[in-house]
Subunit: 270 residues, 2 copies
């Protein structure tokens, strides 16, 4: 099938699936993946690049919104306003990792965790004051928990709010609800967030500029897959242009994402 | 000097300067220009491309924020959410063209005009309701006018608010102030705006997504020049890679804008 498939979209997990699957598939096909473990991107890039350079395929890794669209916006904003500061906020949205962590607490039947950006922190950043913000000042964590019958609610709450890495560094609220309430009111997987750069220009740095990119998504997986599809189109075009090897969203010429031809883009969008 | 200059940044007017200067300079140098007459971009592109393709130089035209960063955001958002609708709002900011138009009214000594997006329209777009908005519903125009001594204020106001193309299609307010007030409170050239795409996904289009990009600029010319400088860096790199001819922001690989190398970008920004 290697000559019949333009591009493969790989949506496996970043922990153990994609580190194996993406290099393997890139030996035969153009690929796009959603690898999202930020700290391991250089290593994943090197592994995929070795294969794709050899096979003359195009492999675009770490596509989605963060890494992905948020990364792009950090890049553009930083290149335009070098004398400035970046802020990334996530939410309001469901963190599946944090929801899972709560479900592993003794006495918990089900749970849903929302990451919520702190409005005062957003306002301070938008004011151009370039604040230094701690983890606790940027986001709060809201947990909706269904306890098993007879469970010790006080103990569950304490275990959650003091959980290292996940909750201890945040102001965390725990609200106990019924399974029916959870199914009814917390079924969706919304997410989103903000990338804001605040920077100065002028002989005396007297002018401030705010560049803000934000997403408000009803469905995190459906939006992420929409980004992957757009980059799949780009991967095929880049391959036809001889741009082979491993790439990221930072390397892809924007026009390659669009179904419209270059002339129409210039005429209607520019 | 053709071998000593990496790139020329052309900041002339779009009406008569750049249509002549950009092709002329592109015969000898890599260039970046700020051509911003949207309707004439295809024609300008063709003229510049003919020269730059011949000279093997790279010419990036229509760089700034609209056209420019706003165009890029319309492209990215539309490619990701094909089933959706774009909205561009400008302001709050000073429109130099509209301020000039007021200054030409009989009896006017000086003037400053602000374009202001209508909050209710922004809110409606952000709600995901995909409203159809008229010109009048999207923006208002606020005029601060210094009248000459003895001028007929009522007549000035009527002439402004009924001026075709500039004001007749908008809700326009005229406030008469003194030259001192204008110099003190309306000296800056702030601008900005919003590009918002609202789009649907899901088997039954049941999920809505909002992508929003916004700028809040203390100085329109200083921000625009900051964008030009970043694209000047990219133009030189593209030329070294053999990407010659006329280009727009839609063609430039994002990483080319940054002073950081690709490895560092992947490690720190992605």
């Amino acid at each position: 099938m290697a000559d019949k498939i333009d591009v493969m979209i790989l949506c496996g997990g970043s922990a153990t699936d994609l580190p194996v699957q993406t290099p393997k598939m890139a030996s035969l096909f153009n690929v796009v993946d959603s690898f999202d473990t930020h700290a391991r991107i250089p290593e994943h890039f090197a592994n995929v690049d070795a294969v794709a350079s050899q096979s003359q395929k195009t492999a675009v890794i770490s596509v989605g919104w963060d890494p992905g669209m948020f990364s792009l916006n950090r890049l553009y904003a930083g290149a335009i306003l070098p004398d400035g500061k970046d802020y990334t906020f996530w939410g309001k949205g469901v963190s599946q990792g944090h929801s899972d962590a709560i479900r592993r607490v003794d006495g918990v039947a089900d749970a849903r965790q929302y990451t919520v950006p702190v409005q005062e922190a957003l306002d301070a950043v938008r004011s151009g004051s370039n604040p230094d913000l701690t983890t606790r000042q940027k986001h709060t964590r809201e947990c909706f928990v269904v306890a098993k019958e007879g469970a010790d609610l006080k103990k569950i709450e304490e275990e959650i709010v003091n959980m290292p890495n996940y909750f201890a560094d945040y102001d965390t609220t725990v609200t106990f609800i019924t399974q029916e309430e959870l199914d009814k009111n917390h079924k969706g997987i919304p997410h989103g967030g903000f990338v804001i750069r605040s920077g100065k220009t002028g002989f005396n740095k007297e002018n401030n500029h705010i560049i803000e990119y934000s997403l408000k998504l009803d469905s995190n997986p459906e939006f992420t897959s929409s980004v992957l599809v757009a980059y799949a189109r780009a991967a095929v075009r880049m391959n036809k242009m001889g741009m082979t090897g491993c790439k990221t969203v930072l390397d892809v010429p924007p026009a390659y994402l669009s179904a419209l031809d270059d002339y129409t883009l210039r005429k209607t969008l520019l």
